[in-house]
Symmetry: C2
Subunit: 682 residues, 2 copies
């Protein structure tokens, strides 16, 4: 190693660069970030050709790796604001790494390969064997990410998501759709270490964060450059505050969200009215109707599909405009559905095509994606005019109609072989797409003054979805009890997203994916309803094969169950609202890992199926079939069983857990104790 | 590129090295072998750490790749016998490639990385897009290997071997045992190109031969050195003669092999006698009894297992010595069973351990492999004393007993974390083990003068198994009709092995693996029997769950079927014997791809489920359930249906194919036409 200056230490927010034999050590506020020697280097560069196949949002990704080269030699130059380290190996191979702090005092590391044909970077961050790692967006199978690699690529989440399940195998055989533990709609190159720092990478390329080595985390990027930011804090709560200061926070939810359940209904105005009446007559608190087929349907051999032409279809929904007004006057919102595609055989697509607003294929023609007996054009959100046109459509066709919200579906399908207006390769834009899609929706609200009044919810996400996606939902769980794709998987999803800076999360009550032999049972629907009452939003989904599934109105007992649990939910309104406000103000998520408030309790770092709902409720949803007791862990505190009033001081306990009494505890000394206590009488 | 001498051409058996801009071209007898430029190099080196997990012969292999570096710069030095090319990239990275011819005029290329920590090599051989590739040992799923990578690692062959089958998924879930298209007991780094050259790599490390690129074949080796040999010929028959001159050939089979079927029987002397009597009374030609439990049995929760203590068990087989004599006098051999392990709880293992003949673990203790409720020590065949001791056991316990042969099972399980006498890492010795195991058996025959009299048969193999394994069998097919693990898979297995230099192959009649819902049907057994009558050996296996399977004596019709088909087989004796002799003399395999004799017929290069049996019989086994006709391809010739006498001149045809009349044709102008014609009357 060659050192240009003799003194390497700066006093830049606790940043130190210390020479070693044949290398250096970079520390930031006493955390070792980089450790480099010739023998154990921290940086590799190389070249590869991405081999990416997509079929309906399911990706098969391989790297045709051409080179991977350790850069062993370093020349360090002191700069006014930090250091430049030039890594090299021989004459022709090099990367420049700039270490500095940004305006907010964050450690900022930028890398740029000297040779742009070197489109791969592997950077090893120093780690301790005992570190736990959280984040990387929405992770459904693991909460503590230590011990495994996590490829970061927005895609379908997979059906079953576990190669050991029969459902996954079936889905794999059909459409490579089974998925695996790391498949997610919302990946993000951001993680929190139990050394109490976060690391965030600004890029949007395909990445793989590998946390399997005891001594380092290896971040692989399919790019010729990288920008990393780090910040430290003395508590996880402060760390999340800092992280969300960087990435953005979600605004508060519309007030109506806390007033009941949003019923997923299809079939037209009168079906909505009838089901609404049935539920309200049964005592269910209903805050909205969500009708994904508001724009009409298309018959295919697979069954009904939504017509992807984002305008009110008055044949299927006659008098919808008037009915929305009527429902609104009764405290019921109407929620619609959109996604960033336009059906190739309909007028919005024709208009977009004429205006040149669709992404292109290699020959310069419009790119059409196959969705199963129909095609969709991809609205080019990198084209400011196309973006504004689509946003204008949201304003006109949804907001002006009086929608209280919508599902802003998809976002994770951008094909890598399409061509974009901004000239950036679709491989690089693929991950960025969901946040761009979120931003389009967000601005439609912002520019119409409807933020905090209208709610859209998304499944896909990436960096900046914190700021632009005002509510996440967990995507398409199976209508089964599988750990990796049933109700259990929603909990690590919410918690990992919380550690990535997004604090608002809910799920389809009862799950969605109804395939093969999977059919939603009554028990699954009721347990999921129990769970959802302790999340920031309750919303049902009929599933993709409604007739196969138990539904909210399938029998009187189910309706009564929804009546009771929506009453629990609405009773909690002031408490949830305050937690949501905290999230908006400081990035403290609504559904929280226990260690956020019990840092000293080592056991809390390994819990992935229970959470704190706000500060004072501990929730451990029942995610197994046919059980009547449930075991869970309570950190040291004074806990009261919300249904029985029994008090516990902490530790592993097993309690009765009948349907309708999800395992929930409140802190005895909570300022909300009286409110919580009242739930026992519902 | 730097060129040390101005003239680079030698006249060494058609070897030419031609300078290019920034590179060179190596041709051998007008075939372009290497094409190197700075922009499109032919050589990469790197380093990696093998991550190899084994469970009962099923391997999970990953490379923790540290580096992969293209060596772009070359310095060529003319040598008396060829050239030295020093490849480099910067100062510290280099590999020396020596191009020469060996004593027999073969092109010989040796590589040695300058830095021994660079334990990976990737070499690209020039290819044409239209080339077909065959060989790589025994390949069950593909015959033409073009278009896919083929990892070369001896292992279990997998159960199902196709991720799209339910059986494979079940086997994967249980023991990672499902396998994939390239799993094989007998891999080999040898291939034949339709440019009419072979390429053979001398090493035994883990390799991956990737034939998926139109312009090159990429050979990846987990080693710091490599030796490749090439030879060209004007016909495939000559090419195989040259290849087997390099690798060795199998001796002729014992004469008794042609005299009937070898019956797989278990259960003791009297069971063998009874079944033998039943079959012979039914008119079945029987040449031997193969009793794998001759050394006793061990009861486990999975059922009966063979006692791995390689000595006659006189409790289960009373009077076996005398009975062998009696059977022999009636033309019936007794065949036993051995493998290269010794059960940890038995005396042979105790003796081996005392003598220090077992492979070691990391602490210097004996290494014991888990086999399912029992363990086995690994006899260290790299220790000459251990090798001789085991060979001595074969001579004493099997040959002296009067065995006519045995199954020499296993060989593909050498754990990579065991330590060997010869100091070579078990990772490198793993692939070499099957041939070492074969050699031990071979020498036991050779040294007792029993070659050509006693027959052992093996499933595992590698380079040199050509010389030492006197007969292969196809391992453990499923007792089902699956393409990749049923009877169909035996055909590409035999043909790819033929193209790798091993010309003697047969299979368990009816298959072996009886798991999950798989049970052998009568139809499967009869069709497999039909097929086996047109291979060099007929041998049955009860399967691992005999009670679940249809057996040769399950009904009178089955016995009669075996009577008829063994008569067909024994009638063919002079023809088969002559084909086996050709194999012994010139390496012309007994089961041959059609293109060996019909080079000009492009269609023959894609046929993987039919073969020539010797020169004059064309066989297209029925490998589907519940069919009564069969379609096949005949190259231009005059072909006579062996059962009907109908004549065909070539092309695609569909014929009646009832059980007992496997689609077989003979050449009208064969010298054996009268013999073939006689089969119609059996």
């Amino acid at each position: 190693m060659e050192v240009i200056v003799d003194s390497l230490q700066h006093n830049l927010s606790g940043l130190e660069l210390t020479p070693l034999d044949n290398g250096f050590l970079l520390t930031y506020q006493q955390r070792i970030i980089l450790r480099h020697t010739v023998q154990a280097p921290c940086l590799w560069v190389g070249g590869g050709e991405a081999d990416i196949e997509m079929f309906r949002g399911n990706f098969n990704i391989k790297d045709r790796l051409n080179e991977k080269i350790a850069l062993t030699d370093t020349v360090i130059t002191r700069q006014p604001e930090g250091w430049t380290v030039h890594f090299s190996r021989g004459e022709s191979l090099g990367t420049t790494l700039v270490i500095t702090t940004d305006e907010q005092g964050r450690l900022k590391i930028t890398l740029q390969n000297d040779d742009k044909t070197h489109n791969r970077i592997w950077l090893r961050l120093a780690a301790k064997s005992e570190d736990h790692i959280y984040g990387c967006g929405e992770q459904f199978s693991y909460f503590d990410l230590r011990g495994k690699p996590f490829p970061l690529w927005t895609s379908e989440q997979g059906v079953g998501r576990n190669k050991q399940t029969y459902v996954t195998w079936l889905a794999d055989c059909k459409e490579n759709a089974g998925g695996d533990y790391y498949w997610t709609f919302f990946p993000q190159p951001t993680f929190v270490s139990t050394q109490k720092y976060y690391c965030h990478v600004d890029n949007s390329c395909y990445m793989n964060f590998d946390f399997s080595h005891p001594d380092y985390h290896e971040l692989a990027l399919w790019e010729d450059n990288a920008t990393l930011r780090f910040e430290c804090a003395d508590s996880y709560i402060n760390l999340l505050e800092k992280l969300t200061a960087l990435l953005g926070r979600q605004p508060e939810l519309p007030d109506w969200v806390y007033d009941g359940v949003t019923l997923g209904i299809q079939g037209g105005t009168e079906v909505c009215q009838q089901k609404l009446d049935v539920m309200r007559n049964g005592g269910v608190k209903v805050n909205g109707i969500w009708a994904q087929d508001w724009s009409g349907i298309r018959m295919t051999s697979f069954g009904k599909r939504v017509m992807w032409n984002w305008k009110w279809n008055s044949d299927l929904y006659p008098q919808l405009d008037a009915r929305i007004q009527q429902w609104n006057s009764q405290g019921v919102q109407f929620l619609a559905y959109i996604n960033p595609y336009v059906a190739s055989d309909r007028d919005l697509c024709e208009e977009a095509s004429k205006r040149g607003y669709l992404t292109k294929d290699a020959n310069g023609g419009d790119y059409h994606v196959e969705f199963g007996e129909f095609y969709g054009g991809v609205v080019d959100l990198t084209n400011p005019e196309a973006y504004d046109w689509f946003k204008g459509g949201i304003k006109k066709n949804l907001i002006e109609l009086g929608c209280g919200g919508w599902m802003a579906d998809f976002g994770e399908y951008l094909p890598t072989d399409t061509y974009l207006y901004n000239g950036v390769s679709a491989e690089i834009m693929h991950n960025a797409w969901p946040a761009l899609w979120a931003k389009c929706n967000y601005e439609a609200l912002q520019e119409t003054g409807k933020l905090g009044e209208i709610l859209f919810f998304m499944r896909a996400g990436y960096t900046h979805s914190q700021k632009y996606s005002v509510m996440m939902w967990a995507g398409d769980q199976n209508v089964d009890w599988s750990l990796d794709d049933g109700p259990a998987s929603v909990i690590p999803a919410a918690l990992s997203l919380a550690m990535s800076g997004h604090g608002l999360h809910h799920s389809d009550i009862g799950g969605y994916t109804t395939l093969f032999d999977m059919k939603r049972t009554k028990e699954l629907l009721l347990r999921w309803c129990d769970f959802s009452a302790f999340t920031p939003m309750m919303r049902t989904h009929e599933g993709n094969r409604p007739g196969d599934n138990w539904q909210f109105d399938s029998d009187a007992e189910t309706i009564a169950h929804f009546a009771r649990m929506t009453t629990v939910f609405t009773t909690l309104k002031p408490y949830i609202k305050q937690a949501v406000a905290q999230n908006a103000q400081t990035g403290l998520p609504v559904m929280r890992p226990l260690f956020l408030h019990y840092e000293d309790d080592a056991h809390t770092y390994t819990l992935k199926y229970q959470y704190l709902f706000g500060r004072d409720l501990l929730v451990a949803p029942v995610y197994e079939e046919n059980v009547d007791t449930w075991s869970l862990y309570l950190p040291q505190d004074s806990w009261i069983n919300i249904w029985t009033g029994d008090t516990h001081q902490g530790g592993e306990i097993t309690i009765d857990a009948p349907i309708g009494q999800p395992p929930v505890f409140y802190r005895a000394n909570s300022e909300w104790a009286a409110l919580f206590g009242s739930l026992r009488h519902i």
